[in-house]
């Protein structure tokens, strides 16, 4: 019944996201929208690094690209990634939000407007508060909110900020997140 998965991550999330992407079946039924912070001067190489182990294709989308199931869409360096109502990607170079571009909040908020209660949102390890507001919006719209177990996070700030703002559906370890995603149809 779900139509998309949106994942936000920052410091300490790279290995988690790699493990998740390497565990998905090749024919994963949903698109995976990735809004991940990267080091300021690392602008290229990230999508390649994620692709090495991922079972589904990971791409840095073009503006207006159609979102398709079974693919991972990584917000390009220095762009915000929005989801339009017609399920296309929209990119923006607007100012960073909470010092972040891509802004996890903005990807989550616009994905929520596009997919409403058919969206799964996952917040991973990170050293700031980005994503907390977006996850709240997602939950308010009836989506399913998952936060990585802060005890497992390399940096807990981001997951704790999310948990403070929203009563989430699940607090999961990486393995539990993977098991959950594997059950999706």
């Amino acid at each position: 019944m779900y139509k998309a998965v949106v994942i936000g991550g920052s410091a300490g999330s790279f290995q988690v996201i790699t493990k998740i992407l390497s565990s998905l079946p090749k024919n994963f039924p949903l698109p995976v929208l990735l809004s991940l912070h990267r080091l300021k001067h690392v602008r290229s190489g990230f999508v390649e690094a994620l692709s090495i182990k991922s079972t589904i294709p990971i791409l840095e989308p073009y503006d207006k690209e159609n979102i398709k199931p079974g693919k991972g869409y990584l917000a390009p360096a220095n762009y915000h990634m929005y989801i339009e109502l017609n399920k296309r990607i929209a990119l923006s170079t607007e100012e960073p939000v909470n010092h972040s571009r891509p802004s996890i909040d903005l990807t989550f908020e616009t994905a929520t407007q596009a997919y409403r209660d058919k969206l799964i949102g996952i917040i991973l390890s990170g050293a700031n508060r980005d994503g907390a507001y977006g996850l709240k919006k997602l939950k308010q719209a009836g989506g399913l909110a998952i936060v990585q177990d802060p005890n497992e996070c390399q940096v807990k700030t981001m997951t704790e900020a999310s948990l403070k703002l929203t009563t989430v559906d699940h607090i999961f370890t990486t393995d539990q997140i993977i098991n959950f995603l594997l059950k999706l149809k």
């Binding site: 001067h41 840095e60 989308p61 073009y62 503006d63 207006k64 690209e65 390009p76 762009y79 929005y82 989801i83 339009e84 109502l85 929209a90 990119l91 923006s92 170079t93 607007e94 100012e95 903005l106 616009t110």
Partner: protein
């Protein structure tokens, strides 16, 4: 505060009916965000804003400026500038003139990047530089050619990659001093472009939505980077047609890193990375 789509539509209609500006083919998500930001910055609700737009022309002009996004950098995405340097600009070296249009130039950093590159290639004198934007404040900033230093320290890295280094030959290193093109003053936190660069471009206000060619010229090269991401698909196509019409055959259109042409118009260009050659 979250605006509904109807409220955004109401704003777009008001602007359209009271001025020559038309945002109806702007990408919805970023338009909504900009409008929300304007309401917060003005500490206003939508109805109050709409009434003020109808009665205060200056305020309307300011709001139109605030709607547009003006983020740009010197040599943003160095690999594109390396492509321009080694693959595209040399093709024009035998031309008598090289006409270049920066459409949506914002505060001008890429206009200066282009002129620096042309100068290094010995093509500066024969180039004519046209630069346009909707936002006249951005154009004024572009004419001044003065940028914050600390906030933009990445400019220097980009400059080194494009001007000093050669990605095709790592042993090559051209120690071109920054002062050849701009003056850095750390105390006043400023990067000031040199006068010989500032005096060259022909800056004009131009609205891509309205189309037309304000320069009455044809171009060898059009740069329009991170502009069309704010447009809907329909308007993107209109703009591509406009560019096609005003490019010479074998002229190039260069888009932003994550912008692309879709649909029928693609048959009229040959795509080479982020550069599109007019067939």
């Amino acid at each position: 505060m979250t605006l509904s789509d109807q409220e955004v539509q109401f704003f777009v209609n008001t602007i359209k009916n009271t001025s020559g500006y038309d945002f109806s083919e702007y990408s919805e998500k970023s338009l909504k965000r900009r409008l929300q930001k304007i309401l917060i910055d003005n500490n206003s609700d939508l109805l109050t804003l709409i009434n003020k737009l109808k009665t205060n022309k200056e305020f309307l002009e300011k709001t139109v400026k605030d709607i547009t996004v003006n983020t740009t950098e010197l040599f943003r995405d160095p690999q594109i500038w390396q492509t321009l340097r080694y693959r595209i600009l040399p093709k024009f070296s035998e031309n008598r003139n090289i006409n270049i249009w920066h459409a949506g130039c914002s505060t001008g950093q890429e206009v200066y990047s282009m002129m620096i590159l042309l100068n290094e290639l010995g093509l500066f004198e024969k180039a004519k530089i046209f630069a346009s934007d909707l936002n006249t404040d951005a154009l004024d900033a572009a004419k001044k050619g003065n940028y914050k230093y600390r906030f933009n320290i990445g400019y220097l890295d980009n400059f080194d990659k494009v001007i000093k280094e050669n990605p095709f030959n790592y042993e090559e290193y051209n120690d071109i001093p920054y002062s050849k093109y701009f003056k850095i003053d750390k105390v006043t936190d400023s990067i000031q472009m040199n006068d010989f660069l500032r005096q060259k471009p022909i800056f004009r206000q131009h609205d891509l939505v309205k189309g037309g060619n304000l320069y009455f010229a044809k171009f060898d090269l059009i740069l329009c980077r991170n502009v069309i991401i704010y447009f809907k698909y329909s308007l993107q196509n209109k703009v591509f047609k406009l560019f096609h019409e005003h490019l010479y055959t074998n002229g190039y259109l260069v888009l932003g890193m994550h912008e692309t042409m879709l649909g029928e118009i693609t048959s009229k260009f040959e795509k080479k990375g982020q550069a599109y050659r007019k067939k």
